[in-house]
């Protein structure tokens, strides 16, 4: 599952490519708007922030870039969020923006950059170069347009939620959308196919021993494919939003106070009788607080499991601490440990007095499961992450799973978790 899941990162990190049709949109211009022109020969990324402090565009420099904006005063910020300069956009005017020398691409001739002695920030409007041409202006047809469509911020992820890859297509990235659609549908179909390969009558015949290696491979495939499908599905929704809002790399919220997480842990384990192996999945929620930078502590592994067979109800929760030892641009790595606690209530399983008029006896059980874990998180949005979380646990008492599955005490368990987090 690890290679598949990290392939997700690769798919969603595809370089942005504008469709040819976008260039033809260059001629389309809102009434009362002006245009900022960034010449080739620059490098880096810039955010365009309006007077209200809202980011209205994110630019990847390199080619000639033209941005249509309503008339007004805007601030240009670099990838670190520092102000580079302010620009004044006037209606029906095109402005060629001059940037500090730090934005010059050494591989290209120096175009539209100022020497470092001019400083990195200025309140003076930049040079005005002529007026906007007509829609048929040949020069305008050649430039790349970056246009923000506010409705797409929500429409794209919603469309991706319904049709994987649909949001990417809406964002003008049909290739990316097709890759996401193919990947998601392939993983879902693979999951269904592996699930359907089960033998519902396994263990029904006396003395029948199953094909254990085949069973293990099938269960492992089911765990991996279903987790990868879930991660890719969620990731492409986030990606659709990210691409609709802007196309800059995410800036993970290292200073967050609270993080909410949904996790699914799976392990392929032995089972009594036939089939001799089973899949042990565990869904849970966590609310983690960041006490000091990099150190998190919180309520974890919260979940409820119900099994109709014995009217069995299991409630679980735990505590977890983790230290983030690596903070990359998109990737966080952490390690830690915790404890998971379960309380179970069930009707006694006895059939010898099934017709008795007395109420069935109620049994109760408790379990504690300490564990250590490793945590790798990939950020697709500033506040949203997807991750893998392998952990090793040792139940001190029998641990309950959904569907009446149980792992015995002292059975060392290697689990692979997949999670989604949101940070506040």
């Amino acid at each position: 599952m690890i290679p598949v899941s990290w392939a997700l990162a690769g798919v969603l990190a595809l370089p942005v490519s504008m469709p040819a049709s976008a260039a033809s949109e260059a001629a389309v211009q809102a009434e009362g708007s002006g245009r900022l022109v960034f010449e080739p020969g620059l490098r880096g990324t810039l955010s365009v922030v309006d007077a209200k402090g809202e980011e209205v565009a994110a630019l990847a420099l390199g080619r000639r870039v033209v941005v249509d904006l309503p008339a007004g005063r805007y601030t240009l910020r670099d990838a670190q969020g520092s102000d580079v300069q302010t620009v004044e956009v006037e209606a029906d005017e095109a402005r060629s923006v001059t940037l500090p020398a730090s934005f010059a691409d050494p591989a290209a001739s120096p175009v539209a950059t100022a020497s470092s002695s001019e400083g990195t920030q200025t309140d003076s409007p930049v040079v005005v170069q002529g007026r906007l041409g007509s829609p048929s202006d040949a020069a305008a047809q050649e430039v790349e347009l970056v246009r923000r469509r506010r409705w797409a911020r929500w429409a794209a992820p919603l469309l991706s939620a319904v049709v994987p890859g649909g949001g990417q297509a809406l964002n003008g990235q049909p290739g990316r959308g097709l890759a996401v659609f193919t990947g998601t549908v392939g993983l879902v179909l693979g999951t269904v196919a592996v699930w359907a390969a089960r033998d519902p009558g396994a263990g029904a015949t006396a003395g029948q021993s199953g094909d254990n290696p085949r069973q293990i491979v099938r269960l492992t495939g089911l765990a991996g494919l279903s987790s990868a499908a879930g991660l890719l599905y969620l990731g492409q929704i986030m990606d659709a939003h990210a691409q609709a809002v802007d196309r800059r790399p995410p800036r993970p919220r290292t200073g967050h106070v609270i993080a909410l997480e949904v996790s699914r842990f799976t392990a392929v384990g032995f089972a009594p009788g036939q089939p001799a192996f089973d899949l042990y999945p565990d869904w849970s929620l966590a609310i983690m607080g960041q006490l000091v930078p990099r150190l998190t502590l919180g309520l974890s592994d919260a979940g409820v499991k119900y099994t109709r067979n014995r009217d069995m109800l299991t409630v679980q929760a735990g505590v977890r601490a983790a230290y983030r030892f690596y903070e990359g641009r998109r990737l966080w790595l952490a390690a830690g440990g915790g404890g998971l606690f379960q309380g179970t209530r069930a009707r006694a399983r006895t059939t010898a007095n099934a017709d008795a008029e007395t109420d069935p006896e109620i049994e109760r059980a408790f379990s504690a499961v300490p564990y250590v874990h490793f945590d790798a998180r990939l950020f697709l949005l500033d506040r949203w992450s997807l991750g893998l979380m392998p952990r090793v646990s040792v139940p001190l008492l029998a641990r309950r799973f959904r569907g009446g599955r149980t792992l015995p005490r002292y059975a060392t368990t290697f689990e692979l978790g997949a999670n989604m987090g949101v940070y506040f």
């Binding site: 029904a204 392929v268 009594p272 014995r310 029998a398």
Partner: protein
């Protein structure tokens, strides 16, 4: 070797559990004196019931005899052994009714599995067999038999006093001189009437059906299926689909056969 390596590699990627397996064999005998009906209601396990001639007490004691094994998993070898020995089978009687059931404490629920061996009973006791996942086989009973299983094949030879079978998914194979009502959600049904013609109801979801009647002299035959209907008896020979209603003589023996999509074939013991 290669498959084992593949399995080990897959486990390492997906997560795995380390532990031990244990088992606890058992056998028991319970008196059935004055008992006319016996219910055997157990968790997932195959059930194989062999009836002996009650009128020969020397070879057929008036009791229920069985053996089997509890299988378990544990985090340690000792735990696995202890857990296998924890659940029990319980037998109770109330006037003419007896029941054999299982008691599985919550502490070992999900950690143990029951595998019954052969159950031996006198052939004049009415039987009611219930389990979850498990094939059921009953041979030699003269009294009535009721079988209810979630998933599993059912095979019956006997049940002179009448037979009712329901399996959620599984094949049914019956040879009986008694009246019968057989239902399977997904499976093939093969039923043959031994002795006189008796009432018969067979319902299957997707499986085919082969019915061998004792005779067709006095039957009220109703067949329903989207599949193929083929009837070959001394007085009816037809091939059709959808619906077939035929009545011979007084029609006092009702034969109802119904399948969603399966083919249905009807014939008689003596093809005439």
């Amino acid at each position: 070797m290669r498959r084992s390596s593949l399995a080990a590699g897959a486990l390492a990627l997906a997560g795995c559990v380390l532990g031990f397996r244990g088992e606890a064999p058992f056998s028991a005998e319970h008196a059935l004196t004055d008992t006319t009906e016996l219910r055997i209601e157990l968790p997932n396990t195959p059930l194989s019931v062999v009836a002996c001639a009650a009128d020969v007490p020397d070879t057929c004691p008036e009791s229920l005899r069985y053996d089997g094994v509890w299988l378990s998993v544990g985090g340690s070898r000792k735990d696995a052994r202890e857990q296998a020995a924890t659940p029990t089978l319980e037998f109770s009687r109330d006037e003419g009714f007896a029941i054999l059931g299982a008691r599985v404490p919550l502490a070992v629920d999900g950690l143990v599995d029951l595998e019954m061996g052969q159950l031996r009973v006198p052939d004049d006791r009415h039987l009611d067999l219930r389990t979850g996942v498990g094939d059921v086989s009953v041979v030699g009973t003269e009294a009535s038999v009721v079988i209810d299983v979630e998933i599993g094949d059912v095979e019956v030879r006997g049940a002179d006093g009448g037979l009712a079978v329901r399996t959620g998914s599984g094949n049914i194979d019956v040879v009986t001189p008694g009246h019968a009502e057989l239902r399977t959600g997904d499976g093939r049904v093969e039923v043959s009437q031994a002795g006189l013609a008796r009432e018969l109801t067979v319902v299957t979801g997707r499986g085919d059906m082969v019915v061998t009647l004792a005779n067709d002299a006095d039957i009220d035959l109703q067949v329903r299926t989207e599949g193929r209907i083929s009837v070959r008896t001394p007085s009816i020979t037809t091939v059709t689909s959808g619906q077939l209603d035929r009545r011979n003589g007084n029609g006092s023996v009702r034969i109802e056969l119904s399948s969603t999509r399966g083919d249905i074939e009807v014939r008689t013991v003596d093809p005439g």
